[in-house]
Amino acid sequence: MAAGGTGGRTYSFKVVLLGEGCVGKTSLVLRYCENKFNDKHITTLQASFLTKKLNITGKRVNLAIWDTAGQERFHALGPIYYRDSNGAVLVYDITDEDSFQKVKNWVKELRKMLGNEICLCIVGNKIDLDKDRHVSVEEAESYAESVGAKHYHSSAKLNKGIEELFLDLCKRMMETAQAEERLKGNGASQSASSRRGVQIVDDEPQATPAGGCCSSG
């Protein structure tokens, strides 16, 4: 799935942004890609599809971040969004217990539908409002560990923790992609069909090492 070919090739990753409405998904990604928060002089037309080019340890990475509609009534559309994605950023509001519950639901669904081939990040946003915290750090972190995800704290307002979380995610996705490639034996023609996601049978055994990579990285 990742367009990770031979050594010098550019990686292209698709990352979906999931979470309830109003948890700050859009602010997070706007801050990351355009370094803007609540900017009155908006030049950005939209904040639902953003791209970022990165250079990680000499390898070029193109990140495509897909925002999703967080309203409850669109929940059922999730699979259409996260199909074929390499990573998922699950955002909750640390002052809102419900939004954390939503994240748990998403994790369950993602693991069920995509197995371990997707790298998960659980992000507690709005740490600038720490005094109103309703989701405890311990609870969130232990939960993240139990499902093979990494937990981060962030504040789009203060621009805290965002850069780190995406960088980390990219590294993990690269490792997953590389592991996938190794398993395929570097065959260009074989990686070809992987792009289409046709060989579901092949993917299953790879899922385990990929997951191991996720939890370790």
Binding site: G5, S48, A64, T68, Q71, L77, I80, S189
Partner: protein
């Protein structure tokens, strides 16, 4: 006659024109002078002519009407059906002809395809206008493709492969759509891998070549692989079209669309977005179809941005897109989505911006298909009522203006008028009621008066002024007295004449 007789006693005044113009009249001209006669006669004639015309016209009209009604009764049902059937047959014939034309020519594409297209064009088949159009298109695509490949060192090789593959696809017409898609996708994959490894192209370069390859191949294969007969795409198209039509009552408020169509610029963007998503159907190449969706999305973002004054998030975008799709009811929506999914370059669908908007469109369609009362904050009963058309949602009067595109403002007016009419009807009913009451009151009153008069008459029998008459005529005192009283004038009359006998 009279004038004749008068002619005997010749009177000077009688000789003059009846019109009194001062000239002498003539009996032959009905006593008019020559000038007045001409005028009179002309007017008469004109009138006659006009009357004749009117009569003729009326007669003709009557005749026509009679004929038409007779005809309609006899023929209305049967005429329409055979015609539509004929149309159907004609289109069928056309498509089959088109197919045969392509079948006939495409396999023989050993010669350059340009020549083929030309032959197809000059073939005398009169109903091949669509095939002619498409061959012009594919001809054009071929030429462009060749032009694009010319400067590339591996251009010839690429062209050969693409042409061979395109031709081979024609034989696979009867394959399932998924298999066709598989074939095309494998071809894309193989070619792009080859470009990467053999020809050592940079990824941007490979991308641009692949775009052209897609354009060339899909223009040529469009007719074969868009909405193929082996799938039920067409049925799905009709289903979603019907569904969207049934959902015509869904308002901006129900979907929580953050767009204020009151602002001219916003409603302008909305209209543009609708146009773009409809235009998707007219494109042949998946990439161009995707471009339409992207353009539509940009217009939506623009509308949201103007309304909310901040960059649009997915939370705003998806509901608006759903609203646009509901408003636009794009033609062959499912076929287009399927076609793009099957034959577009996969990397574009998965990570590109076009892919994101396309995914959102798929989401919008999925949402519309599964839409229920809950997702619109309506109760199940309300939803059922609206869907069955038994009721239409009450327009919020206060914010009614806010939801006004030109269409909905007209709708609002219609609602207003309907309310007004309903009010008028009620009032008329009241008036009628009152009128009826008044009528019955009047009848009662007159009965009442009659009864009273009767009773008065009974209790005070009328006394006659002439006691002698009473005694004389006995049983009918009133009548006789009345007659007598009527004849009061008789007293003033002279005594009746008596026959007199003249002696002698």
């Amino acid at each position: 006659m009279t004038s004749q007789r008068r002619g005997i006693h010749l009177d000077q005044s009688e000789l003059l024109c009846k019109k009194g113009c001062g000239f002498y009249g003539n009996t032959g001209w009905q006593g008019l002078c020559s000038k007045c006669w001409r005028e009179e006669n002309q007017r008469e004639k004109q009138k006659q002519i006009q009357e004749d015309w009117a009569l003729a016209e009326r007669l003709q009209k009557e005749e026509e009407e009679a004929y038409a009604s007779r005809h309609q009764k006899a023929q209305s049902q049967p005429t329409i059906t055979p015609f539509s059937k004929f149309e159907e047959r004609k289109t069928k014939e056309k498509s089959s002809k088109v197919n045969t034309v392509t079948k006939f020519f495409t396999p023989s594409t050993k010669t350059p395809s340009k020549k083929d297209a030309f032959e197809a064009q000059s073939s005398p088949s009169p109903s091949s206008s669509t095939s002619r159009h498409s061959s012009v298109d594919s001809d054009h695509a071929t030429r462009e493709f060749i032009d694009f490949l010319k400067p590339l060192k591996s251009g010839r090789e690429i062209f050969k492969q693409c042409r061979a593959f395109t031709e081979s696809m024609v034989y696979k017409r009867d394959m399932a759509a998924d298999e066709l898609s598989e074939c095309v996708q494998d071809f894309y994959q193989n070619l792009s891998d080859r470009l990467h490894t053999q020809f050592k192209g940079s990824s941007e370069h490979v991308e641009s070549v692949m775009d052209e390859v897609e354009k060339y191949m899909m223009t040529r294969l469009y007719k074969e692989v868009f909405c193929p007969e082996t799938t039920d795409d067409e049925k799905k198209d009709l289903a979603i079209q019907k569904r969207i039509r049934a959902l015509h009552w869904v308002t901006i408020e129900m979907l929580c669309v953050p767009v204020d169509e009151e602002i001219a610029e916003v409603s302008d963007s909305v209209v543009k977005a609708i146009t773009d998503v409809i235009e998707m159907d007219s494109k042949c190449v998946p990439k161009e179809k995707l471009a339409c969706i992207t353009l539509c999305s940009k217009h939506i973002f623009n509308a949201i941005k103007i309304t909310k004054k901040e960059a649009a998030s997915a939370d705003d975008f998806l509901p608006t897109l759903i609203y646009i799709v509901l408003k636009a009811n794009p033609p062959r929506l499912q076929s287009n989505i399927q076609y793009i999914t099957r034959f577009s370059n996969p990397s574009r669908l998965m990570t590109g911006e076009d892919g994101y908007y396309f995914t959102n469109l798929c989401c919008a369609v999925a949402f519309i298909e599964k839409l229920d009362g809950q997702s619109l904050n309506l109760s199940a009963e309300e939803f059922e009522l609206y869907m069955s058309g038994q009721a239409s949602p009450q327009r919020p009067q206060s914010t009614g203006a806010a939801s006004c595109s030109p269409g909905s403002s007209a709708l609002g007016q219609v609602h207003e008028r309907l309310d007004l009419l309903a009010g008028l009807g009620e009032r008329q009913e009241q008036v009628m009621e009152k009128a009826r009451q008044l009528e019955s009151d009047l009848i009662d009153w007159s009965d009442d008066v009659e009864q009273k008069v009767q009773s008065v008459l009974e209790s005070f029998p009328p006394e006659t002024q002439n006691p002698t008459a009473t005694t004389a005529s006995g049983t009918t005192p009133a009548a006789s007295s009345a007659i007598d009283s009527d004849n009061v004038e008789n007293e003033h009359l002279p005594p009746p004449l008596q026959p007199q006998v003249f002696a002698g």
